[in-house]
């Protein structure tokens, strides 16, 4: 199989103006991925599926990822030097920078015919609140059907063009998207005999008296 750079180049040649970015995976698995722009994602997916050299006819895994907004603190260190050039002190300038959060949908593609893979493609939403629509790839690979519904249910990604976009795991009247990182589970804390960590915090909130930590 060609490597991802070649695929990207071919895609760019075939779809001029499309956004295809290679995302490097620094880990030892070296499963790099292609980030597709939303506008032409479905056409590119179709191409990947039907291209005779690739024939990625099998979408194994579709999953959502929640990337919450991240706050970075950039520290710029400027040494203050005296006339001789010796460092007197170092000035630290801290600037806070927030990378906006987004939701991501990842597809792992294999070829059953050519028996190669995986090719990982990703789609990203604009943010985590109102621009959460991505094109559905269910028309291309039906295996995404339930998996996209699951992403819709648990992450709140809206799939445009999905034929039956309903909640799949939670009940219909459920309002939240529980797999998001900022989801707060309903506070059904009642009695935990062995609390620690987050549960201990809850226990403290529910039993404001000193935490349950003394002899019976």
């Amino acid at each position: 199989m060609e490597n991802l750079e070649q695929i990207r180049d071919r895609l760019l040649a075939r779809f001029p103006g499309a956004e295809v970015t290679l995302i490097n995976n620094p880990g030892p698995s070296a499963q790099h991925s292609l980030l597709l722009g939303l506008a032409q994602a479905r056409e590119i997916a179709l191409f990947l599926r039907d291209d005779p050299a690739l024939r990625l006819d099998y979408c194994s895994n579709a999953t959502g990822i929640d990337w919450p907004a991240k706050e970075f603190t950039d520290v710029v260190r400027t040494p203050v030097k005296d006339a001789a050039g010796a460092t007197l002190r170092i000035l630290e300038e801290k600037t806070k920078r927030v990378t906006p959060g987004f939701l991501e949908v990842v597809y792992h593609l294999y070829s059953m015919e050519k028996k190669h893979g995986p090719v990982v493609i990703r789609l990203r939403t604009g943010n985590r609140t109102d621009q959460v629509t991505v094109p559905s790839l269910t028309p291309v690979w039906r295996s995404c059907d339930f998996q996209e519904r699951e992403i819709f249910d648990l992450y709140g990604v809206n799939f445009e063009g999905h034929h039956d976009l309903r909640r799949i795991l939670m009940w219909d009247g459920f309002k939240d998207h529980p797999m998001r990182k900022d989801y707060v589970a309903p506070d059904d804390y009642e009695w935990e005999p062995t609390p620690h960590g987050a549960v201990l915090e809850k226990a403290k909130a529910h039993y404001p008296a000193p935490p349950p930590a003394t002899v019976p």
Binding site: P26, G27, P28, S29, Q31, Y58, T63, S143, C144
Partner: protein, 399 residues
């Protein structure tokens, strides 16, 4: 390798044409002979839904004109819990995904983490993994056949024979790992315990006697005319649709696509073994049943080879660590051929002890995609059989 029968789409079709959904392929007739449609909700408590699966079935007489699967009755937040616990802490949870095959789940997860962390595995551990995985496959297929026949209306007899044999395997799992079902045996970089020669001998004895049981089992079941009538031509799945819908495992091979991850990926040490991948020609329930039977025979072969060749040595990589396991940032998707199909784990690490994303690609969840296509136009009695032949376990469908 023989050419799998995959029809390639000739033209470049429009996306809208591609939606191979089965919306109302069987159209209900409304005239004086056909009354109203009957909507029956099968499940979540139903003897043949293998747990808490639910199918909302619309019937015209006894013929299904619409079938909507409803999931989530066993959605126990596996992935969320996996993201809130350490890499090691997720291992026992994987046992509870497909609770009939904890060993293969363990392996798939260990494989994904090993990919993520670049962790090597000693050779003996690879052999132990193969032995355990193939034993699990035997157990799973055996039980599946039993459950399938329960759906077909036997009074538990095949299931009880299967469980009689299963107990022998379970005893071996228990004496090695300490638990009958929830083995929690694989670790990142090997296995938890080194099997003793006596244990391997016991496996060898059991495996050698297994074909005899299988013969008796087949004598009871395979040639039965009622079975043939109930399963042949029932719930056909075309190879095109199977590939398109991401079906894996015996169900895919029953449709005639020779895709086995043990061959395609060659993970672990599978390339060293000589085994064949059976493929069906019709993709009906009978083929799906026979795939399991034939795969069991192949698994016995793999087991015999593995038990013959297993080297001595440690089963744990000395450099692997149990506590404070923090893989470098990155992501990995590891998959193996589980008894039900491709079981994969997708992990993203941000360098912390907990994975940032922990995703389970469950075979039976995806395999259910085509349940409506297979059931349309069939009767209620067929639908439970078709569902039985898909081989679902709700623990991994809903996770």
């Amino acid at each position: 390798m023989t050419d799998p029968e995959i029809a390639s789409p000739s033209a470049f079709p429009e996306p809208s044409v591609l939606a191979t959904h089965s919306a109302a392929t069987v159209r209900p007739v409304h005239d004086e002979f056909h009354g109203d449609l009957l909507e029956v909700s099968m499940g979540p408590q139903h003897p043949s839904t293998h747990g808490v699966f639910r199918m909302v079935v619309t019937l015209d007489g006894e013929v299904i004109v619409k079938l909507k699967p409803v999931f989530g009755y066993l959605h126990r937040n596996h992935e969320k819990l996996g993201e809130n616990t350490t890499y090691l802490g997720s291992m026992p949870y994987t046992d509870r995904l497909d609770y009939l095959c904890s060993m293969t789940n363990n392996w798939a997860y260990a494989l994904a983490v090993e990919k993520l962390a670049g962790q090597p595995v000693p050779e003996r551990a690879e052999y132990v993994r193969v032995i355990l995985a193939e034993m699990t496959r035997l157990v799973n297929h055996m039980c599946l056949v039993g459950f399938l026949f329960n759906d077909l209306g036997t009074s538990f007899t095949p299931l009880l024979y299967a469980f009689r044999e299963r107990e022998k395997f379970i005893d071996l799992f228990e004496s090695l790992s300490g638990s009958r079902m929830m083995c929690n045996f694989q670790r990142f970089g090997g296995c938890r315990a080194n099997p003793s020669p006596e244990w391997l001998g016991a496996v060898s004895k059991l495996v050698d006697g297994f074909p005899k049981f299988l013969d008796e089992y087949e004598q009871l079941l395979t040639g039965n005319e009622i079975l043939l009538a109930r399963t042949q031509g029932v719930g056909c799945l075309s190879p095109e649709l199977a590939v398109q819908a991401g079906i894996t495992g015996p169900m895919l091979r029953a449709s005639g696509v020779g895709y086995d991850i043990r061959k395609a990926d060659g993970y672990g040490i599978y390339p060293r073994f000589d085994f064949r991948v059976p493929i069906g020609a019709h993709g009906d329930t009978y083929d799906r049943y026979m795939m399991r039977i034939l795969e069991m025979r192949e698994s016995v072969k793999i087991l015999q080879q593995a038990l013959r060749d297993i080297p001595a040595g440690p089963v744990m990589d000395p450099k692997s660590r149990l506590r404070n396991f923090r893989p470098k940032p990155g992501e990995a998707y590891g998959r193996i051929e589980g008894p039900k199909g491709e079981i994969g784990f997708y992990l993203i690490s941000d360098g912390s002890p907990n994975p940032l994303r922990y995703r389970v690609r469950a075979p039976s969840f995806v395999n259910l995609t085509v349940i409506e296509d297979m059931c349309l136009g069939r009767t209620v009695a067929d639908s439970v059989v078709i569902l039985g032949s898909v081989d679902i376990v709700l623990g991994e469908v809903d996770r």
